[in-house]
Symmetry: C2
Subunit: 426 residues, 2 copies
Amino acid sequence: MTLLIKDCSMLDVVQGKVLDHMDIYIEGSKILRLGRNLNMVADEVWDGQDKFVVPGFINGHTHLGMSLLRNYADDMNLQTWLTEAIWPIEAKLNPKDIYWGSLLSMAEMIRSGATCFCDQYYAMDQVGDGALKIGMRGILTRGLIEDEKSQEKLEETRDLYKNYHGAGNGRLRVVPSPHAIYTCGTDYLKEVIAMAHDMDGVINIHMSETEKEVEDCVQDHGMTPIAYIDSLGMLDLHVIAAHCVHMTEEEMDLVKGKDFYPIYNPSSNLKLASGFTPVQKMKDKGITLGIGTDGDSSNNNQNILEEVHVGSIVNKAVNMDPKAMPAIDMVRMATIDGAKALGWADEIGSIEEGKKADLTIFNLKSASFTPRNNLISALCYSAQAEDVESVLIDGEVVMKDRVLTKIDYEGILSMVQDRMNQLLTR
Amino acid sequence: MTLLIKDCSMLDVVQGKVLDHMDIYIEGSKILRLGRNLNMVADEVWDGQDKFVVPGFINGHTHLGMSLLRNYADDMNLQTWLTEAIWPIEAKLNPKDIYWGSLLSMAEMIRSGATCFCDQYYAMDQVGDGALKIGMRGILTRGLIEDEKSQEKLEETRDLYKNYHGAGNGRLRVVPSPHAIYTCGTDYLKEVIAMAHDMDGVINIHMSETEKEVEDCVQDHGMTPIAYIDSLGMLDLHVIAAHCVHMTEEEMDLVKGKDFYPIYNPSSNLKLASGFTPVQKMKDKGITLGIGTDGDSSNNNQNILEEVHVGSIVNKAVNMDPKAMPAIDMVRMATIDGAKALGWADEIGSIEEGKKADLTIFNLKSASFTPRNNLISALCYSAQAEDVESVLIDGEVVMKDRVLTKIDYEGILSMVQDRMNQLLTR
């Protein structure tokens, strides 16, 4: 199957430029040729006029199955929220809830332009099946919390790796994932680190999300959290580190030259009052960050465009500098830098010949992009989810003219509502 | 003309509750009856199942004509941005640019659920004509900056009042509007205050937006800005005070019991790095706030739902309290409190018998509202502009199933692009 998108505006995210009148030629899952007036014959030709083609967005941190708990509990103290609202109902979720909840999140992500995710939850085979169904790319990580089932959970991660790593023409990957340093003991963390070395050398963890986590770590281990994981050898791995709200300057220096990638979750960090993540400082120190939505119970949506927008403007205020975190830096966080953070930049994150055709196509005939003064600014500051017209993942059209092609969107909505109704009676 | 919306979910914003299975009976411009299973015959009946009817949102501060400058200049120092980018091109805008630019903003507002605005700009007759054309409600305020044309501008305000105040079945109002204390001298401010007394006792002004404004005021007048306007007698009027980012606690006490209403503009205040507006503190002091988008050159969109979302989560982080500025408080800011701020709560801001039928209808069959755990949370934290399905203003259907009824949306988009192309050659 070949597809030619003719005469579009295209984001070269590496150079930070919009290229006009571009043709994009896709063969199978890959971008084969880019250029102006390409003389290529394709099975299908799309008119790219009034379209803006950008690299599919990468949601670097989320909990897809939690969409059933969207708007279930808000405006509460963190501890009350977790112990009295979220955990009790979460414990009643069954695998099918997670399947449908994850599909809802994926539908929402595709409809707002995301093509890839890094998910941490449980019943991850269900998430994998959902991703294969809807056609999405992603990293599956089984969140590991130490308890009486610790070894079982490690086994689940091994099974997940065996059954889903590389599935869907390489669309899915599996990475070991200790939940956090405060939910795993030192020995358990070491076991997971060893497992990550046996797999692909990547690990995913919640890191320095709250002030309390940092204080407790200093008290328990005499070190700040990132110094602590370094002492366990975790920094020899590629670390996908969700949050890092309270990362210290010493820790920023410590990770220099290492494969340590914070994933910024602006809405969640603000909503839970975790704090203001020092994003500009991290960038100044040469750290590459990804960006994520976090789960629906702490955001409460999966629209990465909102994270890009909020992330930029909040950092301007924090730094008292309107030049802080400019549009292109934020857009990179959601594309090429996000790909680097996930260890996937060889295949995704930018529109380049030889890379995977993960493409998000915006309709420029919309208020957000009118007038067309600066499409990169528009992407960061004005664009709305509904401006996303079509989405390709791995060369496959998963949404065309806002209609999901591989699954019925309204069917997902009613299944999720049904499952929530059931859940409330359990 | 009568319309009956049957069996909908309806927001009672005063009580902070969602009422299910409600019927809304509209006659002419007004809500005549509310209740369950109303036995009324209407010219038109709409099925309200899977719909959430809320009071039309009120955008308390904007500069509608600036949409031509959307994404024109971003990520710059405030002073450079104003003097080198915005002001030079703004000076070249002509009345027709402002007409079409304002229509674009209004289209965007309606498409994201707003039914009323408070606009400060110039060539305000054009804005009035646009509002009458598209069917929107709003307050027109001619921004007054003291210069050689000061008296001419006062005359324009008088003409505007004569020609547009009460126009469109009372949809339009006109209010005098000194731009700010740093662009108007004391005598000019006094003239505008006198004019406001001669009209309806309402005034609109930018207030304490930046730290510099406060410092300069203290230096020049030996008082903080709100103490200064009080010394001029402005607090005897109903004051619509955009921003108030740097309002002091003393000033909060000073306005107690007065008709002084800050309009919070979260995205703009953050993006321009003006600072974090102390919204929770103002609320705690008993101050009623409205909320606004500000102009497109400092936001860069007119989606009030984003302001509600950002406003809530940023204040949680500022206060280090996830209970700060909960969903219902933010939704009120965009509805009933916004109406109070504009001095219009007798007619708009809530769905009540006898009030104007300014209604925003959300489609609940959307990811944002699935599952339907808490519709008020959904409105604040999840809802997207595209979930707004239909909008009524003054009983008139101005958008049905996302299609504007009184003007061609794509026509506005192409007119604005044409005018921007021309503007760049002037």
